[in-house]
Amino acid sequence: MNKNHRVPSNRSLSAVEVKSKFGAEFRRFSLDRSKPGRFDEFYGLLQHVHRIPNVDLLVGYADIHGDLLPINNDDNYHKAISTASPLLRLFLQRKEEADYTTFGTDTLTRKKNTVLSAVLLRPDANRKKPPVIISLPRDFRPVSSIIDVDILPETHRRVRLYKHGQEKPLGFYIRDGSSVRVTPQGLEKVPAIFISRMVPGGLAESTGLLAVNDEVLEVNGIEVAGKSLDQVTDMMIANSHNLIITVKPANQRNNVVRGGGTASGSSGRSSDNDEDLVIEAGGDADPISRTPSNYSMPPLPRYEPHLNLRASASPPPLAINGAVLARGSSGSLSKAGYSTPSPDRATRRRSLEEDGTVITL
């Protein structure tokens, strides 16, 4: 999976350009990155620039991964300002019209092709019934999940790690070992693969779902029995962007007790979702679509560098539609969608951020 290891060139700048959108209207302004102020000041500013002083707003922004995340307190406001690169894109909704389900991972990349057609702006008429809102999403995105609880034995656990675009390493090691299996001939000692070490601060450790000495049974739906340590290593790395590991936890006391049996429907098999990127000679970057593209890119106003910023360091001139993607300059990476449990493969997820030049998907 791609790693956004490149530091945007204008990250060091003191000014953050902001493009705020409410309904069909844009507003552009800039903020001082070093002194962003408080959230309520910022909220007032938004109401001011959009000239909607008495409208209750739900403020969201597109983070570097293309996810729509809310801004509703000082902390996530500061995070939004500090991670904006180079542009902070805001999406304002009336609170009474708000659709909370739009927040979270893959929200901007799922189903729709671009940020601009995000569901916020056009509450989806096709949606048959809005899903139940369980709670207000915060500044979270899933990093892991336990899946297939209904179909697995209770002694096993199938863990999915969402590596996508994070700086955090997957962060674990595996080793050879031996395990005992029950066979018709009785107990039999067989070679097996175990988790040998967790990297402190790594994704695997942070989930709490994997632990040292857990026996690895499957990787993305494929049994590891009979495979060498190196083979299993290569399998895991090849699936690292969407790694699903079935383990037999060493500690069997925290097993999920099966309840009502709501089928999750997802299986251990990874969905095919890696999309390669082609950069044409003209400089257009275009993710390779699996299926012929039958979507239409909504018209996008051409981006003009903000006047306040121009003097200091203008970001490379780039835009989505037919505009030049200057190569070689640094920028954050855009990314394609990640697999979701959604079985609907036809709706390929893709996104293209306008603030990236060296684009990897």
């Binding site: 040998s196 083979q231 090849a238 390669d276 950069i279 390779i288 679509s289 684009i359």
Partner: protein, 949 residues
């Protein structure tokens, strides 16, 4: 209904798969690794070699080859053919005896093990009693005499190894030196004995006791000499006998030489071999192989030498098999199928000119009949070597025969003076040395090593790339010529900053004209800067372009105009390893080693400080060290699971370069293009603008970037191929022009097949969109190591042929992947996955065969195709003449001949026992006379035994 039909199609496909694919390991080319025993059957005219790994290989006429492997993983110490039969007996290191036979089956012989036997001594006897040191097949072919370390001789019956009896002693020859070997002179009753002080003695063999030394000599005497390990004297019709012995060199001056001395009349030559002498034998003239010595066959550790004793000057006979592939270590190989006859003849002619000083005599080992059909086509295997040579081998048939050798060293100034070799002869006249053999593993300059080879079989144009970033373009010239070689230095970094190359410097190209013999002659050298190993090379002879790549980038060279067209730097700025060159890596290993040594030393020093004499403390420290060591050993092997990131090392390393004439900008105009795949999973595509043919020499070629494809999974790209409208791989350059391939379909849409180490992906062209893929690593954890396009013909119908990808994985498995559907067709385990060098050395042919190194000196040939198969088919029959000779054996009046035969046995027994047990200075050879009950005919002496007191 639909389901039913599909089922029908699948079974049809399965049947087709069986007709197309079949896996066989067919033949081993080259020289057996670590030979340990040599045997020869004069009646069958077969040569047998046993190896330390327990293999037994038989060779006769070119193409007649058999191979067997002992189940025990023990070295073969002796090989003996049973006289006048197709059986042979091998003795292994573990004291077991094995009987092999060549059994004819459906008109072809195969080598089979038919029995095994281990001597068992009386209870309580030391193992030395039954430790077999000498094996002798009785000339009746029914008995086997086994001499043991304990000084006994056992007689066993073959086949079946029925133990008959044990014999003892009679005659004594007192010698003053430790005995090494013995032989009978055939003309009279003499025994020759060789000794550890480099002397040999001739003993008169009489009826009664009291034998005495008739003659004693130290051939390289005065100063102390090494032992003569084997001695043979053979008579000639003209009178003067041939004397052969190995060793006996003056210890101080030439103790390290591996020599066999041949003395005949006034001629005395010390044949100086390249490695340790294992054994030798002499082939005699005549129908029954009883005439004058005609050839000396010497097995040394790394090659087989055959000396023609009938021609003036005793020249070497070129061996048609068992050629040492590793005379300098193999660094890369390249296979070209179906060579046009014209190029073949030109290469052969150039090779013939190199084969001076070889004997004109035919190959003297002619046993068996080669029944294999003539190879369907002419195939060439090119091996690149560490010393900068490229060898071209005839790989069409069972014998891998050297055709031509190309050396690139002459183009460069190297550290060694080429005249050095000339001065070697001036080391004095005595002993009269003569170098024999070509094994020479010492490379003058590691930078000369060949890394990539590309030959165009139509134009005879060859591109060769080496370790120090040198790319040579050569053309086949039938005349010798002298011309300067043009050098072009290209900077692959293009001003990239922060670069430090810590590796080797580039080679110095000679400015003055260089003389080249007829054959491949270099005319241009491109030198990459920094001079890193060339990792990819591609030649397009129709466009006259060479593309080359290193870990820093790639470039395109126009060898017609001799200018570089463009350079693309692929270096990732964060790629420190590639930036600093190979030495930094070595250094880090060195550093870590140094650190660990320091740690050890530190612990020792600190020990010394605190009173070394304190035994308890020392012990404690030792125990601690041991515990640490044990812990280190017990620490499990771990593997880190981490997503591949773009800043991994060597992402810019160019793995594959490919030329294609295809659709890049739109689907109506095809253009020439260059494709490059990197270690970081990136494909660069450049459109090439070639001037028209009439302006090819004066108008420049231009290239401009067309596309970049970054594979999401970032695995190294190992293969690129473009399929035409019919889904067929684009033909090779000039293939269509020579009417040997259908011109590619330009109507339908083209497809690009990208093979990374982890996946096979098909993209449409010109708009590069993914069409289908096959994930390999994500599904079974193996990675692609080698990939090539191959054509598979059906064994059932002549005209059915399909193309596919053949793949070798890091698990040593071979896969066939269909094109353009990228579906796995078949899968066969081929190489042990631990055999990393074997996997790395694999090279595929265009018709589904392949080669890989099973040892530094041997290629295993395998075939995935059921139609194209090269394997030995040969027949060895029991010689008819030998039956006659058995019938005419000891008549009452044939006392003398029977006597001689017996004596021959005696000597054989002696030799081996002596070699093993010689300890005492005083040696007495004892001969015992007996008549075994199994022998119906009256014979004077039947077996003999040697003992030492």
């Amino acid at each position: 209904m639909k389901r039913f039909r599909r089922h029908g199609q699948e079974s049809q496909r399965d049947r087709l798969k069986q007709e197309l694919f079949q896996f066989n390991k067919t033949v081993e080319h080259g020289f057996p690794h670590q030979p340990s025993a040599l045997g020869y059957s004069p009646s069958l005219q077969l040569l047998a070699i046993g190896t330390r790994s327990g293999a037994i290989k038989l060779y006769g006429a070119p193409g007649v080859e058999f191979m067997g492997l002992h189940d025990e993983n023990a070295a073969v110490t002796q090989v003996h053919f049973l006289p006048h039969q197709v059986e042979l007996v091998t003795l292994l290191d573990d004291n077991s005896l094995h009987m092999w036979t060549l059994r004819a089956h459906t008109g072809l012989s195969e080598l089979l093990e038919i029995g095994r036997f281990t001597l068992t001594g009386p209870p309580g006897a030391p193992p030395s009693v039954t430790r077999v040191t000498a094996v002798l097949a009785h000339s009746s072919g029914e008995l086997l005499l086994l001499g043991t370390e304990g000084g006994h001789v056992f007689i066993v019956q073959v086949p079946g190894f029925r133990e008959l009896e044990e014999r003892n002693i009679s005659l004594h020859f007192p010698a003053t030196q430790q005995l090494e070997s013995l032989c009978w002179t055939e003309d009279r009753g003499y025994i020759l004995s060789s000794h550890s002080d480099g002397s040999y003695c001739r003993w008169l063999f009489g009826e009664e006791d009291g034998n005495e030394v008739e003659k004693s000599d130290i051939p390289y005497g005065h100063f102390p000499c090494k032992a003569i390990s084997k001695i043979i004297q053979l008579p000639t019709k003209t009178g003067a006998p041939f004397l052969f012995f190995s060793g006996g060199m003056p210890r101080a001056s030439f103790g390290d030489r591996h020599c066999i001395t041949v003395i005949h009349n006034k001629t005395h030559v010390a044949l100086d071999f390249t490695s340790r002498i294992i054994d030798f034998f002499i082939i005699k003239d005549g129908q029954l192989r009883t005439g004058d010595p005609s050839a000396l066959v010497v097995l040394v550790e790394e090659e087989l030498g055959v000396i023609d004793l009938k021609s003036e000057g005793w020249p070497v006979i070129q061996t048609p098999y068992l050629v040492p592939l590793h005379s300098s270590a193999i660094t890369c190989s390249h296979h070209v199928s179906a060579i046009p006859l014209k190029l073949w003849e030109r290469v052969l002619a150039a090779g013939e000119l190199q084969k001076t000083n070889y004997s004109k005599k035919p190959w003297p080992i002619t046993g068996g009949k080669n029944l294999a059909p003539d190879p369907p086509q002419r195939d060439l295997l090119l091996t690149g070597h560490e010393d900068g040579t490229v060898r071209l081998w005839n790989a069409s048939g069972v014998c891998l025969y050297p055709m031509y050798k190309l050396s690139t060293a002459g183009v460069f100034h190297t550290d060694t003076d080429p005249n050095d070799n000339l001065h070697q002869g001036a080391e004095g006249d005595w002993p009269p040395f003569r170098k024999v053999g070509c094994f020479d593993p010492y490379s003058d300059d590691p930078r000369l090593g060949i890394q990539k080879i590309h030959l165009c079989k139509y134009s005879g144009c060859l591109a060769v790339a080496g370790t120090a970033g040198q790319i040579l373009v050569l053309e086949l010239n039938d005349e010798a010529a002298e011309h300067p070689v043009e050098a072009k230095v290209v900077d692959l970094l293009q001003g990239q900053e922060g670069f430090r190359w810590k590796g080797h410097t580039r080679l110095d190209v000679r400015d003055e004209p260089v003389r080249f013999e007829a054959g491949f002659q270099p005319f241009t050298v491109v030198q990459c800067q920094p001079p890193a190993v060339v990792t990819a090379l591609c030649l397009h002879s129709e466009w006259k372009l060479v593309a080359y790549g290193t870990s820093h980038g790639f470039g395109l060279f126009d060898y017609q105009q001799k200018i570089n067209v463009f350079i693309k730097c692929t270096l990732n700025p964060s790629d420190q390893l590639a930036m600093e060159g190979p030495l930094s890596r070595v250094k880090s290993i060195k550093k870590s080693l140094r650190q660990s040594f320091r740690r050890i030393r530190h612990s020792r020093v600190s020990l010394r400080k605190h009173q070394v004499n304190n035994a308890a403390k020392l012990q404690e420290a030792n125990a601690r060290l041991e515990a640490e060591l044990a812990e280190m050993e017990l620490a499990p092997v771990q593997r880190k699971i981490e997503a591949r990131s773009s800043d991994d090392s060597f992402t810019g390393l160019v793995r594959i370069l490919y030329f294609a004439d295809t659709f890049l900008s739109d689907s109506s105009h095809n253009t020439p293009s260059l494709w490059a795949g990197t270690n970081g999973g990136c494909v660069y595509v450049f459109i090439l603008r070639l001037p028209s043919v009439e302006h090819r020499t004066d108008e420049p070629i231009t290239a401009h970037p067309a596309k970049e494809i970054q594979l999401m999974h970032r695995a190294p790209i190992v293969g690129l191929v473009v399929l035409d409208g019919h889904g067929t791989p684009l033909p090779e350059p000039l293939e269509v022009a020579h009417d040997l391939a259908r011109s590619p379909d330009m109507q339908g849409s083209h497809h690009l097949v990208v093979t990374s180490e982890e996946q096979f992906k098909v993209f449409t062209l010109p708009k590069v969109s993914a069409k289908m893929k096959l994930k390999l690593t994500a599904m079974d954890g193996s990675r692609v190591r080698r990939v090539a396009v191959a054509w598979f013909g059906s064994s059932q119908s002549e005209d059915y042929c399909e193309s596919a990808l053949v793949v070798l994985t890091n698990q040593g498995d071979l896969h066939v992947i269909s094109l353009p559907g990228v579906k796995l067709q078949v899968r066969f385990p081929c190489i042990r996955k631990e055999d990393v060098s074997g996997i790395a050395s694999c090279v595929f042919t265009r018709h589904g065969q392949g080669f890989y190194l099973i040892s530094p000196s041997e290629f295993e040939r395998f075939s995935l195709s059921s139609r194209f198969l090269v394997e030995p088919c040969c027949l060895v029959e029991v010689p008819l003449s030998s039956h006659a000779s058995i019938q005419s054996r000891p008549k009452p009046d044939g006392i003398l001949s029977a006597y001689r035969r017996v004596m021959e046995h005696c000597v054989c027994v002696c030799v081996c026992v002596c070699v093993c047990v010689c300890v005492r200075v005083r040696v007495r050879v004892c001969v015992c006379v007996s008549v075994p009950y199994s022998c119906r005919r009256k014979m004077f002496v039947n077996h003999l035994r040697v003992a030492f007191f």
